[in-house]
Each structure stands twice: as C-alpha cells, then as structure tokens.
Symmetry: C2
C-alpha cells in the first residue's frame, strides 16, 4: 500500500479538483450544461471525414502510422505556414512546431521556464487549463487587471516592473472565460512593453477564427515575433479529438520545448497530423470555418437575447464578437457557487467564475456560460431557468 | 532576445542531445542504420487501415472527434481489459488508463513522484527514453546489476535498502537496449522484494508480444499488482504513429497520474484510441502479431548468423527470444564511439551503448543493434561492413 508520502513535493500544487467535483452532477439526466467548453458535435466535418482518411492513407501510407519527428509532420508544417500567413502570422515552416493539443505547449513552457517561485503574469480571470498545466512547476501567479477590453496594458507594465515574470499568459481574442478581445491599439502597447522589457508573452489563440461580427484584429505575435509564443489549435476549427495544436516561439524557447516534448510523448500522432494536413491542403479550413460560425452565431444571439430577457438588471455580461463563452457578473455579495446549487435544482449548470481566478476569494459574483453545445430552444429555456435561480438566490 | 537565463533550473538536466548529434549522419545517403528502434513499415496493417477508419466513423461518429475523458476512451478500456486478460494481466476496465504513447506515463510518474534528488533505480543499461522523461524532475539514478538473464534480484534488494528509490524502472521482456528477458523465477523474487519493501516497480512492456521463440513468461504485475505500474503500448504491435499506450497502476498513483495528464494534454486522441479499439474488437491483434513475428524472426536470425560470421571471437552478444534489439559487447578497451566513426565510413550505423547508461564512462565497449528496419540482404551486408569496421578499430 502506498500513501501520499510517495508523492513528489510538487504534487501538492496539483490537487484541487474542486471544479471536477462540482461538475460531476452534469451527468445527471435532465441537466442542461452551459458549463462545457466543447465544440458542437454538429460542427464536425462528418460529411468528408471518410474522404480525409482515405486521402491520408493514399497520400502518406505507412508514414501516417510510423514514428515521426518531435517537431511535427513536415507536410503539416508546410500547410500551416501557408494558412497562418492568411491570418498575418508569418514564419518559415521550420519555425512551426506541432504539439498534442495546444494545452501541451503550456506544460512545456512550465517545464522549461518555471523554477518554483518564479512569477507568471496572468489575466484575472484566466484559462483554468493554463493554471493546471503550470501548477506542477510551482509558479507564483501575479494578476494583471482587465476591463471590458481585456488586459489593461499599464497593469501589465506595472506587474512586469515589480515581479519580472518568466512569462505573460494571454488569450487576446475571445478569451476563455470572458469572451473578451483585446483591441488593436492595446495589442500594440502590449507588444511594445514586451519588447521594451524583454518579456516573453504567450499568445494562446484557439478561438481567433470563430469571429461572428466585427473585424479581424492582428495578433500580438505579428507585432513582436521575437517576444511572443503564438499557440494555435485545430480543436475549435476542425476537431479536438485529434489533439493537434501548434506553436511558433523564439528560437531558444522552441529548442527547449522540443527537447521537453521528446521526453513527454516523443511526438504527436502522425495519423491525426496527416488528417490536419489534408484538411488544410484540401481547402477545407476556409470552407469549414463559415459553417461553424453559421452554427454558433445564432446560438450566441439566442443566449444574449435570453439573458436580456431573464437576467435581473443588476447583472452585466460580455457581448463577444465570437468564441464560445459569455461572462456574466452579478451584484457584489452574490456567491455564484451558492447560485450553482440553486441552478442545478433548476436543471441548468454553468461554471462559477471563481475557478478562473488564481487568488482565493476573487470572482465570487461571476460565472461563465457556454453556448456552443445546446440547441437554441434548449439554450433559451436553460437561461430562463437560470434567471429564476438568480432571482431565488438574490431573494 | 532571450538568453539561457530565462530557463528554469530543472532545464539544465534536460540538455545533452549528444546522441541526437551523432545520429544526424543517418540521413546521409547510402548509410544503413541499425541504430533505430522503429517498427518495419511493412509490419503495419495497411491492407485493412481503410476498413478500420470506416469502422471508427460508423461506430463512434462524432465521439471519435470530440474531447474525451483524461482516463481514456471507454470502449478502448473495455477491449483492453479483455485483451490483457489473455496475457495474464487482470484488472477491471476502469483500472486501465490510456496515455499518449507509453512514454508519457514515464513523464507522469516523474512529475508526480520525483522531487529533485529522489532516487530512481534503473537497470544498467536501461531505456534512454525513460531517462529523458525523468531527467527534468531531477532524479538521482541508482543502478542495479544485470547479467544475461536481466536484472539480478539481489542487486535490486540491496539498492532498495540503501537508497529507498521512489521507483524501480524495468523492461522485463526483450529489454531495450539488451533484448534480455528476466526469467520467471527472478520475476517472482522481484515481486516479493517489491511487496516486502513496499517499493513501486514500473514494468514497461512494449515488446512482450513480439516473441519469436521460447515460452511466455508471466508479468511481474500479475505477481504483485498492488506494487507494479504495468505499461503497454500499441506502438510495436499496431502502429507507433497513433501514440496510444496504456497503464495499470495502484489506485493512489493512478489518481495523480490522471491529474497530471490533464494538465499535459487533456486526453489522448479520441480518433486514434477509436482505431485501437476497432483493432482489438475486430480480432486484428491476434491475427496481426503472428504477421509481425513472421517479418522480424528471419531478420533477427539473419543478423545473428551474420554476427557469428563477421564479428571477432572476443565479441559476445545477446540472442533474444524476441523484441527488436541485439546487444553486443566488445573486448575491454574498445570505444564504440570511436567504432561508430569507422562504421559510418563503412556506411553502417548503430547506437554506442554508453548512451544507455546513467553513469559516465560505463558501457564504452557495448552497442545496440536493431534488426527490424532493413531487409535481410541489407542486414547481412551491413553486419559484414560493421565486422570490417570492428577489425579496423581493434587493429
């Protein structure tokens, strides 16, 4: 029998599956979950998956089943280079490395950069999965202030001056959990601060292509390529079950990330990389993104309308131009964990916002709502029931 | 511009890609590599891959493309449970967790168990990839003695008593790099020592099914299930490009491995897990392993015959009953790194054995030869040229 004594010191940073615990009720029949972060299954290209797998077997044969290089499947890197150019992310094919979901570049960055106690600057609130990836390496999180336009550059500059973080972690477009997007002017300031202070910025960009309204905003990477790790993914624009993500990083960082990855999984699945290659090569990305948007945009509009109708006037929420989430904030004193219990009684679930903050006690009155998984009628009814739960809890 | 100053302290343990450097010449035209560890491409089931992908799409639909649980694809766990029973590895389906290649369970074990300076007991020589996976966590390796029958149990007992290692890492069957197999009697002793001293044994078993001769030997796991992490893989019996491995571990270890994996890659590709499921479900594993053996057995026999013919009499080597490698040892004073240069001049490559030792200076006169990749005529000629290189270096 082994006891906790066998664990490494770092393992104490990894516990806390409180969110897993509260989300366990989601499997209860009848509950509509607005808690997820999964793409809608009807957004997957089932109509040509068979065609894509045949192309993979015909085009790459045994290479799709063989060990590959840690850096990634060469044909995928070439196709990614062309695709990324269309969104203003310019680099050589060799400058792009493939990872097993963009999550795994966060683990890699933690591993190669963070000594216990090193500062990591994060938006408050930020992506829970980034915290989970970095926690084992013992970082000290320092929070940067945000408003409706995302990260406030002055706060980033202050935090850098005071804490010298190893990295600044950002999701600039349609952020998880808030859905907010940092406007171009602020991105230029962020890029300038990164360059001036020689600070590494992680630009995590899984949702950037899911834009329903408004205009494209250039990446921070394009403004400071020597100081930014740009991370992208096929999870939200093709299929998360492939586990194919990619990144571009300054040379030194890239070199060590590859060495770290070699120890972790040798390389990402050749077969799913080949599927992603054929998806890009066949022009499916261009045709598929509008299809996804056509599914998500009305869902988001339905949710926003239903919130307008059912949420009390002392609530405010983000109206993102894309992505998968809406962020709602209730009046001071509201405890959304308590609200969660009441919502479950009303057969609707969400994620209490406190889980997206690194500091205990923050975000008690906030919550994240996802609109991609349920159909419009279900969304409308679920938001109605959530409104009822809110009024019950607020009394 | 970033400098090494940005790196974590642990990153210093990750360097040393000396082996990568020396293997760079392998891409030079004309060189026959006996250095690899890859399965032969003609051992892949190309004839029914299209059938398998169609089954996956028909059977699992969008589930094969969606996010999945960190623990693994439920239908795969069920099929694995049945398959593992046939090789005497008994557990519940929920006791089996899937990983992105069995390499990644080594990273997970390092992460959750190893504080810097903690002892890890390894065979000398041992699998290089295990060292690479564990290095970032700062272990102190303690070596256990081996002979022609693999690990010497008394040495394991001594090392445990003296160093209290967090884990004992073993490849009991057709070990990489030596090809050696620990006989049943020793396995029973190893299991008893693990139980008596409450020590965690990692039984890494990627090659176990590739038996050309002799009889099946039960796993150490079957003798001490509460003290063994059993790790298996589809890489050598189906295709490494899928990156699907699996493990069974004591409950506490399993729980933390899942939490660690969640931060690293969320879960293993649903699509490639579904392919592995259909491979098992369709009975392809049973029919495919004999096909692989039919390819590898004559290759190994050819290599052993050619070594008999061309290697000088002061060389000895393993005659494994299966697996992918032969381990050769030259006379004291031979430097196989020097031999490597001469072999490259003769258009043949191998891995100098020193890279499989954790202690500098050990294994200078040893080398690992792989027989799976080249055809028999090429193998015969390459071993001949290697014999010439040996005679040149020995003078």
């Amino acid at each position: 029998m082994f006891t906790e004594k066998i664990l490494a010191d770092r393992t104490q940073h990894m516990g806390s599956s409180a969110i897993r615990e509260i989300l366990k009720v989601l499997s209860r029949p009848g509950i509509v979950s607005l808690a997820g972060g999964m793409p809608a299954p009807d957004s997957f290209p089932m109509d040509y998956m068979e065609d894509l797998t045949q192309r993979v077997l015909r085009e790459y044969g045994t290479d799709a089943l063989q060990y590959g290089t840690t850096e990634g499947f060469a044909p995928l890197k070439q196709e990614l280079q062309k695709y990324l150019k269309t969104i203003g992310v310019e680099t050589e094919a060799e400058g792009i490395n493939v990872v097993t979901g963009s999550q795994s570049v966060l683990d890699g960055l933690g591993k190669i950069l963070i000594s216990p106690g090193d500062a990591v600057a994060v938006e408050a609130p930020t992506y829970l999965g980034a915290i989970q990836a970095l926690n084992p390496y013992g970082p000290r999180y320092v929070r940067m202030k945000t408003d409706e336009q995302g990260l406030i550059p002055d706060s980033m500059a202050e935090v850098i001056e005071r804490h010298h973080p190893k990295m600044v972690y950002l999701i600039p477009t349609f952020q998880n959990p808030t859905g907010r997007t940092i406007p171009e002017e602020r991105r230029r300031q962020i890029a300038e601060i990164a360059k001036r202070t020689n600070t590494l910025v992680i630009e995590d960009d899984p949702y950037g292509s899911l834009r329903f309204r408004g205009s494209f905003i250039p990446t921070i990477y394009s403004m400071a390529p020597e100081h930014v790790v740009y991370a992208g993914s096929f999870s939200k624009v093709f299929a998360p079950g492939l586990r194919v993500g990619y990144y571009i990083a300054p040379e030194l960082i890239s070199k060590w990330l590859v060495l770290a990855k070699q120890g972790v999984d040798l390389h990402t699945s050749s077969f799913t990389q080949a599927l992603a290659t054929e998806f890009l090569k066949g022009g499916f990305m261009e045709s598929h993104i509008p299809r996804i948007i056509q599914i998500y945009k009305p869902k988001q509009e339905t949710m926003l309308e239903a919130m307008e109708e059912h949420f009390p006037s002392n609530f405010s929420w983000s109206k993102p131009e894309g992505g998968m989430f809406i962020w709602a904030e209730g009046p001071k004193g509201l405890d959304t964990l308590q609200l969660y219990e009441e919502a479950i009684n009303n057969n609707v679930a969400f994620v209490p916002g406190k889980y997206f903050y690194t500091e205990p006690g923050e975000g008690q009155e906030t919550m994240r709502l996802n609109f991609t998984m349920a159909d419009e009628d279900t969304l409308r009814a679920a938001v109605g029931r959530l409104g009822t739960a809110i009024r019950t809890v607020l009394g």
